[in-house]
């Protein structure tokens, strides 16, 4: 289990100080610390200073930090042959701040990660345009660019808790298919202007250069035309192959699947193409047997990442922290209940709060040592409120599989063990 070290909290003296509790929780936050056997009790125990290691061409994580994504072959199918994995989840329980480290950004790929030589990659723009065009990566880099921090979320994020809650799940298991990075690229509007889109074209097919040729129909609403961009940069460097090198579509606030990776074709038309991904796959089956289609926007969502599933806390002072995001815009507020959704208190948001980006929230909490349940709920600037699980399931049924944004509840027992529960 990834969070073994969190469960095995170091022994504290009987008369533990306030600082001791903070230290205990910090061990959980850093969760990744390999060993705490030689914890320094006094300053005299802290090792002497001295010359360090050689400087390298790039920096690695501390050997004391173990922090990894978890590849999966499907819901709950972990510890799989990498060949069978279809996604890999972000370890939110071990992260701080608002930005996801590049190598820990979640990944969902439908036919593996193609090894693309950028010199041989091309983007074709055609269909209902006056000038069908072919662009190279270098062409894109010479165009005016935008840089924006946005979350990307797999439509299947949260799929572990649709029907039941495995108590041994971490927040990485339940919510590891959403991440936030800074992306740089060319506004879609600029490309549309170059090609001269015909006025009667209101839908665009975006297609990837992976084996599956993943393709989605995108409605050209004002919001999408103004905000979408073709990215070649990720957190200041070229895209990683897993995230679409050398170029991908970024669609702030919309289904991860629409953010087509390894982008190689944009075709303009008048109607959606009804691709496999927007009919058979990313549609939500309701209890009555009908399926919701073109539910393209990602919902208002939040989750407590600290403390979260499989961690163990101690009575006294604790800090609750987590992430909130919405495809509708900025997060307006996050409320936290520490008594099973009866009394709610407003959490503090870590600035800056950006539209369609994750934001960290935090709140002090003194735990009295009695079993309880903690839960967060986000509200965005449009007034959308993250639903409780009961009303969410009442509206969507339990077969929908995609677009799960119900409030996430963690139970805490008398020993301070944190577990995944439905509500």
């Amino acid at each position: 289990m990834t969070s073994k070290s969190q469960i095995e909290s170091p022994q504290r003296p009987a008369s533990v100080s306030r600082r001791g509790f903070v230290g205990g929780l910090s061990a959980g936050v850093l969760g990744a610390v390999a060993t705490e056997a030689a914890a320094a009790q006094t300053l005299a125990d802290v090792p002497d200073r001295g010359p360090g290691a050689d400087l390298g061409a790039h920096s690695e994580r501390s050997r004391f930090v173990k922090i990894d994504r978890i590849p999966e072959a499907g819901p709950g199918k972990r510890n799989v042959d990498p060949n069978d994995a279809i996604n890999s989840k972000t370890p939110h329980q071990k992260l701080v701040g608002n930005i996801t480290p590049t190598d820990l950004h979640y990944e969902r790929s439908h036919s593996g990660v193609p090894d693309i030589d950028p010199a041989q990659h091309r983007l074709l723009i055609h269909g209902l345009v006056q000038k069908p065009l072919v662009f190279s990566v270098d062409d894109l880099k010479r165009m005016p660019s935008v840089t924006r921090v946005v979350f990307i979320e797999c439509t299947g994020n949260g799929w572990e808790n649709w029907k039941k809650a495995d108590p041994d799940l971490t927040v990485q298991n339940t919510h590891g298919l959403v991440s936030t990075n800074e992306w740089t690229g060319v506004p879609l509007k600029f490309l549309i202007g170059l090609a001269g889109k015909e006025k009667n074209s209101n839908w665009m097919l975006a297609e990837g250069g992976d084996g599956a040729g993943v393709d989605r129909s995108i409605p050209l609403t004002d919001e999408i035309v103004n905000e979408a961009f073709v990215a070649y940069g990720q957190n200041g460097e070229p895209l990683r192959p897993a995230h679409g090198f050398p170029m991908r579509l970024v669609m702030p606030g919309f289904e991860g699947n629409l953010n087509i990776k390894w982008l190689r074709r944009l075709k303009f038309g008048t109607e959606p193409w009804m691709t496999r991904w927007e009919t058979a796959r990313y549609t939500q089956l309701l209890a009555n047997g009908k399926a919701r289609q073109f539910q393209l926007r990602m919902e208002t969502n939040s989750v407590i990442t600290q403390p979260s599933g499989t961690m163990q806390i101690q009575p006294g002072y604790n800090r609750i922290s987590g992430l909130a995001w919405s495809g509708h815009g900025k997060i307006a507020k996050v409320e936290i209940s520490t008594d099973g959704a009866n009394i709610w208190k407003q959490a503090q948001l870590n600035q800056p709060v950006l539209s369609k980006a994750q934001v960290r929230f935090q709140m002090d909490w003194v735990w009295d040592g009695k079993p309880t349940r903690i839960v967060s709920r986000a509200t965005d600037e449009q007034g959308n409120v993250q639903p409780d699980r009961q009303s969410f399931i009442a509206a969507m049924g339990s077969n929908a599989l995609f677009h799960y944004n119900a409030q996430q509840t963690w139970s805490i027992d008398e020993a301070g063990r944190v577990r995944n529960v439905l509500a």
Binding site: P132, V134, G196, P219, W273, M274, T275, A280, R297
Partner: protein, 182 residues
């Protein structure tokens, strides 16, 4: 010049800088019809994009055995990858089975997807007629095409899938309403 004129000039300059005159000729190159044809593989529900050709269920049975059964199971009953047949009548149950026959709304999507993404190790490697044939076979497994039937460029778009009316478009992005207010 009056101050108003100055402001107008300044505004024009600012706009000019923000929207720097960029022409298609400045970036990339025109796409030729021949090369567009190489990549223009999408198939629409009205059949637009389907190539000339066709195939029978009988042919498709062999194509399926050779290329698809290893992952999708004999008769498309599922294996290490998705089940393709059966499941009709289960969508409103507690254990819905989503297959081509029970869930997919358009037969054209089946041709498109097989051609673009299958067989998994060598996507797009089946011939046009073999792609039509295996499409016909998968539809026959679901009782949509008769066992002695065939599909081609003209007949495929006319097939009404059992779950064609099983989808409710999200109001915000409903293709029947979006962009049609004016």
């Amino acid at each position: 010049m009056s101050s108003l004129d100055n402001r107008l000039v300044a505004a024009a300059l600012t706009l000019g800088l923000l929207a720097a005159p960029a022409f298609a000729s400045d970036f990339g190159r025109p796409a030729t019809p021949a090369e567009i044809k190489l990549w223009d593989i999408d198939v629409a529900p009205d059949g637009k994009g389907l190539p000339v050709g066709g195939g029978t269920v009988a042919q498709g049975k062999q194509v399926f055995a050779d290329n698809c059964a290893a992952c999708h199971g004999d008769n498309g009953q599922g294996g290490i990858k998705d089940r393709l047949a059966g499941g009709q009548g289960t969508l409103a149950s507690g254990a819905p089975v989503k297959t081509v026959g029970s869930f997919w709304p358009y037969a054209t999507t089946l041709y498109d997807y097989i051609h673009r993404a299958m067989p998994y190790p060598t996507p797009g490697s089946l011939s046009t007629d073999d792609t039509y044939a295996v499409t016909a076979y998968i539809l026959s497994l679901n009782g949509i095409v008769p066992p002695d039937g065939k599909v081609d460029k003209d007949s495929l778009p006319k097939i009404k899938m059992p779950n064609r009316d099983g989808f409710i478009p999200e109001p915000e992005f409903d293709p029947a309403k979006l962009f049609r207010k004016k």
